[in-house]
């Protein structure tokens, strides 16, 4: 058992973490990118769906109340159970990971989009309507830009959720960093299971932090100047 002599982070009889990372470097890079990319697509889909749904319901207090309640209930469902429901219907493929992750990412995004659109000052809307804006123009030029910071804050939470739930998605289909975690759980006590678990945790966290930084940049560049001053 070779020890690098530097950081000793070995579990069981396996390699040190550094050695393990060196040995499986290619796999790690591949799965990290795959994980990040899948999460990114899910966030994108959730963002589009959340804004569309919010636009449909935010004017009706009954519908938006219903949507927000559904979001609260949705949060209480364990994702692993949801994957369990999806497998018999959609089978074990990437197509059954995607909808579950999107659904979870949708929850905070939808709630914030509804709240953001509803919190636009009624005086703005009165002025907009009074000066002859059509419904669509009001939404596009006034309401969405004004709600944007709130929508974006919701998407930021969505992104973190997506990154975490893609990891759990590995239980359905061999995708992303979650595979390391499930492999480690399945072979508990064997060589390198500790390295696998640690790799999953660290790299998932790294993706999460990267997304968060990306959101800070997006917010910086997409918030209208008048709302920042």
């Amino acid at each position: 058992m070779g020890n690098g002599g530097d950081v000793q982070l070995a579990f069981g009889d396996g390699l040190s973490f550094r050695q393990w990372v060196d040995a499986y470097q290619d796999d790690l890079i591949f799965y990290t990118r795959q994980h990040a990319l899948l999460a990114f697509y899910c966030i994108l889909a959730a963002a589009v769906l959340a804004v569309l749904l919010a636009v449909l319901v935010y004017r009706s207090s009954r519908l938006s109340g219903l949507a927000i309640n559904a979001v609260s209930v949705g949060f209480t469902l364990p994702s692993i159970a949801l994957f369990g429901i999806v497998i018999p219907v959609l089978g074990r493929n990437i197509g059954s990971v995607f909808p579950v992750v999107v659904l979870y990412s949708l929850l905070p995004a939808l709630r914030n989009a509804i709240v953001g659109l509803q919190s636009v000052d009624p005086a703005m809307l009165d002025a907009a309507r009074g000066m002859g804006m059509s419904r669509f123009r009001m939404l596009w030029q006034i309401e969405l830009p004004l709600a944007w910071p709130v929508i974006l804050a919701g998407l930021r939470v969505s992104a973190q959720l997506a990154v975490g739930i893609v990891a759990i998605g590995a239980i359905v289909y061999d995708v992303g960093l979650g595979q390391y975690a499930f492999s480690a759980l399945a072979n508990l006590g064997s060589a390198n299971t500790g390295n696998e678990a640690l790799a999953c945790v660290l790299f998932v966290a790294a993706i999460g932090i990267a997304f968060d930084l990306a959101f800070m940049l997006v917010r910086r560049f997409t918030t209208p100047r008048g709302l920042r001053v």
Partner: protein, 349 residues
């Protein structure tokens, strides 16, 4: 009819240039009832709003003044009756297009915080697909008109402006597409009293040039007297209690409700409408050299106020800084007697 509205209405001011002057608005038996309510929000209102005048809708809260105004640009649809602008029935027009032809100013101003001042002002011209250059020129023209230096303000954002400046931009935005008609809902209500008085005067000066037809809603009777060519007093039952010039309402209120709404000191308020110009001035004597001065543009109310403040019975009247005569307390009282005689004659008629 008292002629003192002439001060506000006759000078068909030079400089109106290409700007569209006002057009008449007619409300004919207009009512608004909301389902499930016993009384009407607006009850059978008929009134003619002459072109180029400021007509004030004034009354206690819940009297339907704002609802009446909002029916003109169809933010609220009337239940019955017709409203015509320049002879055209508003209900026959596309509501969105109609509103682009009508300036709209509200108390909360409603500037869009994510848009620069220039973008706010140019919204309606851009919706009307004006050429870029024309729009830009118009924005600068409008900002200058309301007393904001375009170079300094066009790229600022609403949050960087004071309340008074924001409401100036609100007025500039409403005027940008040169609408013949303006609706103003307590436009100066959210501004502090000193700035409000300035905004009111500036707006009257602008209106002197533009001669738009303006429907102006307020709950403040003093503002109504100051701003209005005509005033419609609406009562609790959402009906018009009196529709007349400020002078008539002050000197002969139609009923007890109007009298109560006018409040105490109607005579003094009446003097706010009388310019010093209507009084024959006395020649300046040596005795006046130490007397306080008052500008010829002042109202008799200002004159009286100054006399009491300085405990003087005589003031020197100045025009462009030069004394042109003097006015004594007796002159003011003589004018009050004339006004009373006029009012009595009108009531007798």
């Amino acid at each position: 009819m008292s002629d003192s509205t002439d001060v506000a209405t006759t000078p068909k001011a030079a400089g109106s240039g290409s700007d569209a002057a006002g057009v008449p608005i007619v409300l004919d038996h207009v009512s608004k009832r909301y389902p499930g309510t016993k009384s009407a929000a607006v009850d059978d209102i008929s009134m003619e709003i002459p072109a180029g005048e400021i007509v004030i809708l004034v009354g206690p809260s819940g009297c339907g003044k704002t609802t009446t105004m909002r029916m003109i640009n169809r933010l609220i649809e009337p239940t019955s009756g017709t409203i015509t602008i320049d002879g055209e029935d508003v209900l026959s027009l596309d509501d969105v297009k109609l509103r682009r032809e009508i300036g709209y100013v509200i108390q909360q101003i409603g500037l869009f915080p994510h848009l620069s001042i220039a973008q706010n002002v140019s919204l309606v011209p851009r919706m009307l697909k004006w050429k870029k250059q024309r729009t830009n020129d118009r924005v600068d023209e409008m900002l200058s008109l309301v007393g904001l230096e375009p170079a300094e303000y066009r790229h600022r954002y609403p949050r960087q402006l004071s309340g008074g400046q924001q409401q100036r931009v609100g007025v500039a935005r409403a005027l940008a597409a040169d609408p013949p008609v303006m609706l103003m809902d307590e436009p100066f209500g959210a501004v502090d009293p000193i700035n409000r008085a300035r905004l009111q005067e500036e707006f009257l000066a602008v209106q002197d040039k533009l001669r738009k037809t303006i429907v102006f809603v307020t709950h403040d009777f003093d503002e109504a007297v100051k701003m209005g060519d005509r005033i419609a007093v609406l009562d609790q039952g959402s009906k018009i209690a009196q529709y007349a010039t400020p002078e008539e309402i002050l000197s002969s209120p139609a009923n007890a409700f109007v009298e109560g709404f006018v409040g105490h000191g109607a005579t003094l308020k009446r003097l706010q409408l009388e310019r010093l110009e209507t009084v024959d001035l006395r020649p300046v004597t040596d005795a006046d050299s130490a007397a306080p001065r008052v500008p010829i543009k002042a109202t008799l109310h200002d004159v009286l106020d100054e006399m009491i403040a300085k405990a003087q019975e005589s003031l020197v009247v100045v025009k462009d800084g030069k004394p042109i005569g003097s006015v004594a307390l007796d002159d003011v009282l003589a004018r009050v007697r004339e006004l009373r005689a006029e009012a009595e004659a009108r009531e007798g008629a």
